[in-house]
Every structure is written in structure tokens, then in C-alpha cells.
Amino acid sequence: MVPPKPVPKTKPRRGIFHAFKGNLEALMIGVKYFIDPKRFTLIYPKEYNKLREGYRGFIVLIKQKCINCASCARICPAAAMKMIRIPEVDEKTGKQKVKNWPVIDYRRCIFCGYCVDVCPTEALYHVPYHDVVYQNMAEMYLDLESFQKPPEYKAAEEGIPVRYIVDEERGLVKVPYKEGEK
């Protein structure tokens, strides 16, 4: 079989009339967008992006499910998940013993979600938001208590939820979030 002939690249057309036409087209596009602006800016404190389920946001621990296996700490690529030793009393025998519990350091976390994936008992889960504010760097190293409750989501208290959808004609479009939508 004969290979297809190489098509020579067409040179960009130059000339006054071509340039004039190009300028006119650019202006027409400008006018088109001026009449019908397809804008999608998130006016942040008044609106917030309601992210979908499965979004890899902040991570929360369910302590009852945790079996202290330390898989999450081992798989963490950024060494953000750490096991800390907490002494406690065993309920059955009444003996003193030390257990390892996972805590997270958000100064290091890259939100890859490996810890959630690897957890054998699904004791870790993501919350679908990431805009959380801490007062200082030390606060971002959570202890076991604060790791168990979802972080405070201030934007949801003040703003209205919106969603972004991809429209074939208009591109990215901002639509108000309907209750119960996944």
C-alpha cells in the first residue's frame, strides 16, 4: 500500500485584506461577548462551589472503625498521616496499654486520597470541600479529637451553593444548586 503523500503545510496568509478581515472578526467576537457575556466568576463569600460526592477534600476519621493497622501512615506519599501513641485502659482486662492512632498534618497533606483508598475498614472518608481556614500553622497539625469531626465550613453558612456544568454551546456554566442533587 502506498503511504499517504505528505501534505505541505499551508503558509499563514498575509496581506492587508486578510489582516483587515482578521481585525474585523476579532471585533465581532468582542461585540458578541459584550452583548451576551458568558461569565462564570464565583462571587466567593456570597456563593460557594457545591462540590460533588467523591471529591477528595479534607479527611475525617471514624475512630470506632479504626483497627490501628497504620496502613494509611505507610502509604501516605507526603508523610502527612502519622501514628501517635496514646496510652489507654483496656475495657476487658483493665490493663494499661498503648495504642497507635492516625492523625493528619495538613501542612503536608496533598489530598491524594490514598489513605482513604487503602483503609481496610473504611474508617477514613473525604468531606466534599476544601476551603477551610486555620489561624496558624500549628493548628493544621490535628490531634485525635479534631481529626474525628469534619472541619468547619464557613462558606456554606454564609453563601448560597452553586454548581458548574459543562454546556455544549456556552462552555462552563454556573447554575444554582438544587437540593438533593448528587
Binding site: 471585533l27 467576537i29 468582542g30 461577548y33 459584550f34 461569565r39 462571587i43
Partner: protein, 342 residues
């Protein structure tokens, strides 16, 4: 005579009215609106909102007032290395000289309300409008800063690009009417025969060269933010920077008035009558409205265009704009020869 009568008489004295009210107050009012329009338009076309948070209900319209106040109350810092006298004088002189051409322009056909005799007003106003650019170069030189000097030199190069074309393009209306009088030029356009329709080539040349002269967007070369910080105005701060920017916009407004008179029919379709209001106020309002629309078109281009390099702009000016201006001049002569202009 009453005190109020005296004050009214002083304010409506044509030279003062034209210099202070039409040359300074009206442009500044227009500029506040136009700057807001410019930012909102660019935002609309580029799918953003633009200024919004200062007053969300009216679309951030008082954002510019806030900016103005910020400039007004900012400390004016004069660096040690600058040439102090020239550094201070240059922007103020540029401001004054960019207002001065207004006084050589008729805002009405009633000769009682002309500040100066108008026989050679086209020539005088064009000549006056070309002086202020040298003070921008001077401001860049006095700042003694590499960005300022590069910006000033760019401005100097751009003067060679636009100055001849702007004069040639506007003088083509003199070729059409065989008169250097702006009043004759405007009166020749009665009956809908605006020179933008009769001579679109000259209008286009004038439009583009005014864009070059006032660093409008495809030619925003002397003050391009991401190459030379603010060009000749890098070292200026506070109110002096505001004066610089104001001078640039007043210059654009004055050129818009020229184009309005030369190509867009001046105070037509309104015919000035007797008395101050009918003979002076309404015609000048018509001209200001037309000039404002023209300025809005100028600022709309910001949303669409990028920026030419300096060599590209000079290339464009001498290879395309100069022939265009000459063609406009020739077309004007031809139309005058075959008697198209009454």
C-alpha cells in the same frame, strides 16, 4: 448687578467656560464614567465581572470614586535621584497643555460664543495638541529610572508614528471644504452629509492615529504594564500620578472632540439659536455626548486587542496608516473637485 449675575457672567465667559468647564470638568466627569465602562467592558468580554464589590447593586460604579480618593490621599513621594524641578513641572504642564487646544475649537456657530477668532482653528488646535507629548518624554527623562527612560523613549518613537498621520487625517476635511475654519467644516456637514460617510478612509486614519497618540489598546506601548512598569510615570505616586493619567485621558477627550467636529458633524443635527442655553450649552453638550461615545469605542478596543511591539507599531504607522491618511486626503480632494460637498 447681582452677585450671582456676576458669577454666572464670569463662568459663561467663553474662554473660561471652554477651558475650565469643557476642558477640565467635563473630561474628568466623562473619564470617571469611561474608566468604569472600560473596566466593565473588558470584564464582560473576557467573561469576568470587573469592579463589583464596592457597590454591587449599581455594578461597582463608585469604584472609580474610591480609586480617585486613594490617589488623592496617597503620599507624594519624590525620589532623591530625580531632577526635582522638571519632575514636578512635567505632568502639570502636560495637563495644562492637553487642555489648551479646547480653547481653539468652536462649540457653536454663534460667533459671540467663540473664545478666539476661528479662521484658522483647525490648524491652531492641531498645532496646540501636539505640544503636550514632549512633556511625557520629559517626565520619563526627569525620573532617572530605567523603566521611565525606556517608556519616554517609546513615547518619543510613537510621536514620530502618529503626529503626521493625525494632522494629515484631520486636515483632509480642510481639503474637502477648502477652509481651515472648524465652523465651516461643521456647517458643510449639514443635511446628514457627515464626513465619516463621505470620507471613511480619513476617519479611520484619524481614529487609529488618535489611538496611537493616547496609547489606546493595540498601541499601549509607552505605558505597557508588563514590560515597563508604568512607562514614563513609574516614579510618580499619589496625586501626581493621577494628574498624569488625567492628562492622558483629557488628551484623548480633546482628540475625540476634534474627530467629532471634523467627521461626526459637531453640534449637528442641532442648530444653535440665540442666547446662552440654545446657542452654547446645548451644542457643546451634543459635542460632548458624541465625543463620549467615541471614547467608549476607544475603550472597547481594550477588551479585544493585545499589544503591538514598538517596531510593529512603527511599521504599521508608516506602511499602512500613512498611505491610508494620504488616500483619505486624496479622496477629500477628489470629492471637493467633483463638487460633492456643498
Amino acid at each position: 448687578m447681582d452677585v450671582i449675575d456676576v458669577i454666572v457672567k464670569i463662568i459663561t465667559w467663553p474662554p473660561l467656560w471652554q477651558l475650565v468647564v469643557l476642558g477640565l470638568v467635563a473630561p474628568l466627569g466623562v473619564v470617571v464614567g469611561i474608566l468604569w465602562f472600560e473596566r466593565k467592558t473588558a470584564a464582560r468580554v473576557q467573561r469576568r465581572f470587573g469592579p463589583l464589590h464596592v457597590s454591587p447593586r449599581i455594578g461597582g460604579a463608585i469604584q472609580l470614586i474610591a480609586d480617585l480618593m486613594r490617589y488623592a490621599f496617597q503620599e507624594i513621594i519624590i525620589p532623591k535621584t530625580v531632577d526635582k524641578g522638571v519632575f514636578l513641572i512635567a505632568p502639570l504642564t502636560a495637563l495644562v497643555l492637553s487642555i489648551v487646544p479646547v480653547v481653539a475649537v468652536p462649540f457653536t456657530s454663534v460667533s459671540h460664543y467663540w473664545p478666539i477668532p476661528m479662521e484658522y482653528s483647525v490648524l491652531i488646535s492641531l498645532a496646540l495638541s501636539t505640544i503636550s507629548a514632549i512633556f511625557i518624554v520629559l517626565a520619563g527623562w526627569a525620573s532617572n529610572n530605567k523603566f521611565s527612560i525606556i517608556g519616554g523613549m517609546r513615547e518619543a518613537y510613537m510621536i514620530t508614528a502618529y503626529e503626521l498621520m493625525i494632522i494629515l487625517a484631520i486636515l483632509s476635511v480642510s481639503a474637502m471644504t477648502t477652509s481651515y475654519n472648524f465652523v465651516d467644516v461643521v456647517l458643510a456637514q449639514t443635511g446628514g452629509k457627515w464626513f465619516i460617510i463621505l470620507n471613511p478612509l480619513a476617519f479611520l486614519a484619524a481614529f487609529i492615529s488618535v489611538l496611537m497618540a493616547t496609547s489606546g489598546f493595540p498601541f499601549e506601548i509607552p505605558e505597557s504594564e508588563n514590560e515597563v512598569v508604568a512607562g514614563p510615570f513609574t516614579e510618580y505616586s499619589g496625586l501626581l500620578y493621577g494628574v498624569n493619567m488625567g492628562a492622558a485621558y483629557i488628551k484623548r477627550f480633546v482628540y475625540s472632540i476634534f474627530i467629532t467636529l471634523a467627521f461626526l458633524g459637531g453640534w449637528l443635527p442641532y442648530g444653535p439659536g440665540d442666547g446662552f442655553i440654545s446657542g452654547y450649552l446645548i451644542p457643546s453638550l451634543v459635542i460632548i455626548v458624541k465625543a463620549t461615545i467615541l471614547m467608549a469605542v476607544f475603550s472597547f478596543l481594550r477588551a479585544v486587542y493585545g499589544r503591538y511591539r514598538l517596531d510593529q507599531a512603527l511599521d504599521f504607522a508608516w506602511k499602512l496608516l500613512f498611505p491610508l491618511a494620504l488616500m483619505g486626503f486624496g479622496l477629500g480632494l477628489l470629492e471637493a473637485y467633483i463638487g460633492l460637498i456643498g
